[in-house]
Amino acid sequence: MQQLGMGQAVNQALREEMIRDQNVFIAGEGVGVSIHDSPMLPTHGLLEAFGAKRVRDTPVSEAAIAGLAVGAAEAGLKPIIEIMFNPFFTLASDMIVNHAAKLRYLSGGKSSFPLVVRMKSGAGFGAGCQHSHNLEAWVAHCPGLKVVMPSTPADAKGLLKSAIRDPNPVIFIEDMMLYFAPGPVPSGEYLIPIGKADVKRPGRDVTVVTWSKMLGVAMGAAEKLAAEGIEVEVVDLRTLAPLDKKTILASVRKTGRLVVLHEASRTGGFAGEIAAVVMEEAFDSLKTPLRRVTGPDIPVPASPPLERFFIPDEEQLMTAVREIV
């Protein structure tokens, strides 16, 4: 099987969908000619392959990029826009939150907005909090948006292809550290449905729900805890909205214990939503109080030791698991 980083897997999905559907186009800052040149990056080589009509380098104008997507999607094109870093979504957010997500509802179902917003996220490259700020909980809070946050290259490819074919606006968040962590990706056509979580490791003692880069932390911790005799079930959410409650609840009912792990800071983070769902619908199955392992309530620091401190690690997760098992 081919070994690809997540950026390369995204690149493959983009190429396949652009070949399949002439209405698909890509727009954003540096999606054609970039200040970075690496085959590991998602839009590498697309301009050469598809031309400047379909791979559109834009001015530095996030509101216009997002508006471009909204207007073009309504007219029947399939825009895929890139927001260079997740924090810059604030500049595009009116067009996505107030328009892409709401105009279909406001039209009484007459209009559709089939667009994909790809955003790069994740701490770990020392750029500080205006480049690193995971805002998945913000967008998951907006009815009308689907939110996908893959953790493996294979999932990224199948989920992105589904996102591009989805008739609704989809926020697709890629952790940049995963661009450089190759994993197996099936060759050829496949789709992974939006809204389906994936049990990445079965276990009987405790459920860890996580997504994106934190899957690696969960899998590493699970391996070590297995040596201690603790069997962790790792549920990779993959999609935050719509939320696959069924898979989460089935796992918690089996293990009776829950830890939610995410990189984003704690207060108002998506772990709170998962905790609430479990408390409302599977309280009787819980043998112990649940735990959250998250980034602290601070902006992501630039200084390397502080940034490493911000990102949850295997030790923190193992401590949380041991506390409740």
Binding site: P59, L68, G71, A72, A75, L77, L103, S111
Partner: protein, 320 residues
């Protein structure tokens, strides 16, 4: 090319209809509980919607804003379905989900209306991009007000439209007030249209109460857009007779100023010119007025008798 007799008749009909339509809304709004939500009218500004849309063809799109009634009627919206939507009824254009503020009528080329001030230009850029991408012979008109001109999104959209030569016509309806703020209080420059120079696109300021001048300026901008030369910014100088909304007591608008602009009403102006030029008779005008009144009366009846949506419909239309 200046407006033909047919275009002038069309504009006069549209303006009379829009005026009657909104006069009815003013009356209905005065009755507590009759119409839910806000009510934002363009009374006195009808020449802009009528003139712009008379210069467009059905394949052209408009992206409008909270002050949209005359734009939509001019583009061909059915007054009954529009009124029912304003009443938030199930039979309205948007099944009661829009109400008066976000009316979407894709079937007449008015696919998106946003009440977020300054939001229509980026969307119009996207709509026009689709026209260019597919090689369609169409343009997208975006309506903003003088207040919206100070939103950053408008700058981004105008720049992108210009860089990519998109077939957009930015229409700035300068009605001299942004909320309670007078033009001079929010903008230092004499004309919004002067900003076009910063985007290397033509910018013109036009008398917005002169329907024929509105029509002719859009015709020119449309030809330019269709020939691949890109966007134009047109500013129409007009005046907001009513408050920002019907609940606004207009304490900040001098009464003599309102009276002066009412004396410069765009409807008698076009009507007078057409009568003088022999393009229409007094009797024909009377017929048009009566017909407009009857259409509005029927629209109000339809809206009032229509049911509200059922509660379960609240969950419909979130996702496709």
């Amino acid at each position: 090319m200046s407006a033909s007799k047919e275009k002038k008749l069309e504009m006069l009909r549209t303006m009379l209809l829009a005026r009657k339509f909104e006069e009815a809304l003013t009356e209905l709004c005065a009755i507590k509980g009759k119409i839910p939500g806000m009510m934002i009218l363009c009374t006195g500004q009808e020449a802009v919607g009528a003139g712009v849309c008379a210069a467009l063809e059905s394949r052209d799109a408009i992206i409008t804003n909270h002050r949209s009634h005359s734009h939509l009627l001019a583009k061909g919206a059915d007054p009954k379905l529009l009124m029912a939507e304003i009443f938030c009824k199930k039979t309205g254009y948007n099944k009661g989900k829009s109400g008066t503020l976000h009316l979407a009528v894709p079937e007449i080329g008015a696919p998106c209306t946003s009440t977020v001030v300054g939001a229509s230009p980026p969307i119009a850029v996207g709509r026009a991009f689709a026209q260019q991408y597919r090689g369609e012979r169409g343009v997208t008109v975006c309506f903003i007000g003088d207040g919206a001109a100070n939103e950053g999104s408008v700058h981004e959209a105008m720049n992108l439209a210009s860089v990519w030569n998109l077939p957009v016509i930015f229409v700035c309806e300068n009605n001299m007030y942004a909320g309670a703020q007078r033009y001079e209080e929010h903008t230092k420059a004499a004309n919004i249209s002067d900003r076009a120079a910063g985007y290397a696109m033509p910018g013109v300021a036009v008398d917005g109460n002169d329907a024929v001048a509105v029509h002719d300026s859009v015709t020119q901008a449309r030809q330019r857009a269709l020939s691949g030369q890109g966007p134009t910014l047109i500013e129409y100088k007009t005046y907001r007779w009513r408050g920002h909304g019907e609940a606004d007591p207009q304490l900040y608008q001098p009464k003599d100023e309102i009276a002066r602009w009412q004396a410069a009403c765009p409807i008698p102006r076009l009507r007078g010119d057409m009568l003088a030029q022999g393009l229409v008779t007094a009797e024909e005008v009377k017929d048009m007025e009566e017909r407009a009144a009857a259409i509005v009366q029927e629209a109000v009846r339809f809206a009032e008798e229509s049911p509200y949506p059922a509660l379960h419909e609240a969950f419909e239309d979130v996702f496709a």
